[in-house]
Amino acid sequence: MNFKSPSMKNILFLALLLLVANASATDTTYFAVLRNSLALADHEYSVATYQNLANTCDRIIAIRENEWLPHYYRAYAYAFLGYMTKDEEEKDRMLDRAQVSADAAFSMNPGESEIQLLFALICYGRMEINSMIRAATYFPKSDAALERARELNAKNPRIYYLEGKSTLNKPEFMGGGAATALPILEKALQCYKEFKATFDIYPHWGEEESIRLYEECKGRIAQE
């Protein structure tokens, strides 16, 4: 065979690709599978798409148990499923699942700032339930998680997105309010612009929401 012929090489490559793509998925990189489910979840914020993402992660974890990313996305999916759930017991259960996966991801990749942000995200979910009792426990915890995320990668835009969101929701006397939140959200937008993901399904959430919050912030300041 003459491999030097470029067309020949291309055809063989194509054939190979088709073979690979159609063969048993165990041979495929799990990235492709995850990419699909993530795209669905990004496209539509619903129980169905996030449960699907969680299930996809479960399938990947069953085969590739030592990769942090599927654990990360499982936690991510259950954290948001927690936000979507009304019943408090159920909410807690979703967040318990998110916590288990976030812990697993952390043990595999302790230096990843994104996982710290998951911890913070779970804390916010916990606080939604009975904030009168829980805020005292979970506010310091979520703050500490944001702080660790900052130590690991101060350029991670999601730190400022979550910080901005929590600041905006806090009463002014506790150091919250629109005026305080605005520069933080500005920083978030700046970081989102500069942020370069190392690979395509690296965590990328929060940008649209940051823009929305930023506008809301400006609106509130204008009103005052």
Binding site: N55, M132, E172, M174
Partner: protein, 719 residues
Amino acid sequence: MKNISLVLLFVVQFFTLYCQTTISGRIAGINGEAVPGANIYFEGTFEGTTSDTLGHYKLTTTMSGEQILIVSFIGFETYYHQVELTGDLLNMDFTLREIKKDLGEVVITVGTFSAGDESKSAVLSTLDMATGSGGFGDISSAVSSLPGTSNAGEEGGLMVRGGERYETATIIDGMAASDAFTAKMPNVPVRGRFSPMLFRGTVFSTGGYSAEYGQAMSSLLILNSIAMPKKDELFFMAHTSGLYFSTTKKWDRTAFSTSTGYNNMGLLYKLVNPNIKWQKIPVSISENLVFRQKIGSNGMLKAMGAYGYDNSAIYYRDLNRDRDVVYALKNHNYFALVTYTDQLGEKWILHSGITLGSDQVRINIQDTASYEKFKKSTELKLSFSGPVSESIHLNLGASLFLKKLDHSFTTQEDDGLFNADFLSPIGAVFAEAEINLSKRISSRIGARLETLPLSGETYLSPRFAMAYKTSRFSQVSLGYGQFYQQAQDDFLIYNNELKSEQAEHLIANFQYRRNSRIFRIEAYYKKYDHLVKYDSLYAIDALSYNNDGDGYAQGIDLFFRDSKAIKNGDFWLSYSLMNSERNYRDYILALVPIYISRHNLSLTYKHYFEFADTYLSAGYSFSSGRPYVNPNISEAEQQYTKACHDLGFSIFHFTEIFGKFTMLFAQVSNVLGTNHIYGYRFATSPDQAGIYRSEPILPVSKRFFLVGIHVSFTGQTDI
């Protein structure tokens, strides 16, 4: 050449098209209800799908031959099904069986209220602890809004389920804090020495507690100090009765805090006209040093040093002589505690600790007597906890407690001088297993062996508790235990050989907890034995003291809290029905102890006003009349005082002053202005007219109030 590869390409494509199999169907529960969100996939592959809201699914694959199809969903049994993939359309419905495991945790709740810690079973928050309406900064005030406690206003502290104040032990970071409350003056309630700001997690046990702890017949107040502060802190607090200043410096793995408090009741007593006449207005100073050091990857060293000073004097009515005498108190208290916790291997945890305590109390009663009590104590403790299997968790340990007491007593009338001292070690070992028999049942079985050389006693106290989950939201628990406590120092100084007092608890409870609503009902029976009896207090003769006393307490405690029904509102109710009789101390027959109210009710409502950044809390408490014996009527028959009603308010307003986080607060008690009478004192002998002179026991003042400011220079104070 080209052609061969093209053929190859088509073969590949054709092969894959030919082999495409689509499986579809519905996933349902046993009753036919749709199971949305189920994971349907081929074993060992990433290929799979999720059922939709109607339980339908559709899965297309290019695989062929025999495959295992898995249907799984959390809370249901996983279904494995062998399929032959032939390239056809397959229709497969699956029925999933629910597993009853997602009942949630089963936690033993019998006799236990936890607050502010991480556990989901927390009943009160750290904020509740810090802002208890009974008295700002007293750790027992929030706890006393829980059922099972008696509101004996002249006593203070925690009196639990028919028990006296001394029957409640305070535990800090696993170690006994033997003088956690200030020294007692007649008719003046004691206060907690430690600021609630120092602690994060609190567990209040009203009985049936773990074998890890002993030397408390009724109850435990378990306080866990802050592990590592969040950030540097600097704040001060100034209020009508004192000043408090605290600073914290945090490094990477180390933290150091200091806090200083000064209390002076002078201003308050000028404004409220107290019932007690003070010869010397109470002044107290407290100093706390806290050090934290992380060691290795999981080790944590905590050290705390505390100093407290109290000085006050009252005019106390000597009813026998019908005149006022000055009753003066001076107290110096030092307490140091060092604990070290680390992980052993994967799952075991080591706890170790040492405490050193010194308590010096000087009391001088004008023209009558003076006492000096000097107590030094130390405790060493070592324990290990960890799992031995998936369902069995062990907690083992040993402790040695040493107490040296020097007591001197001088009577001025007959120049009598009495000196006594003793050294009492108490050695203890304990073992306890937490066993999860099933997802529904959890049990705790333990025993504690204690030996007291002073009284020549060695006893084994068994402890048992179990919880059974009756539904997702409810559970029943049962608890039993035997609890021993060395006779009080006041009696041991006269008779070293007194045996330990003893209580036996039997408790049953039911709890329903759902969506920020908790309802709990608990019934208990408590049997007391070997209580100290004497002919008359301060009798020097050892033989006049014995262990012949006994008694019982029984009752029902109710607790309800709802933090959800009203937005930004939080409500809780406690009610205790208590029945108790004792024949102990100088009682001549079995009587209801004087500190017991049959009915105790406490209602608390807190509301957060968002627009005003303000917390308002209202508390109402009711205690039915307490018994007393009026020798002018009968020595054997008890009279009852009028019931006590108290309505109090607290308000906390959060703001910024010069850009600093500031909290303004005000508290007031007894808004209704009712006159409370806790009981009556009588002279020990009748006067010339044959009448025993008497005096009502009144609150220190009819009404208390506190107005203050808290300024933090480092942002919000972490409460």
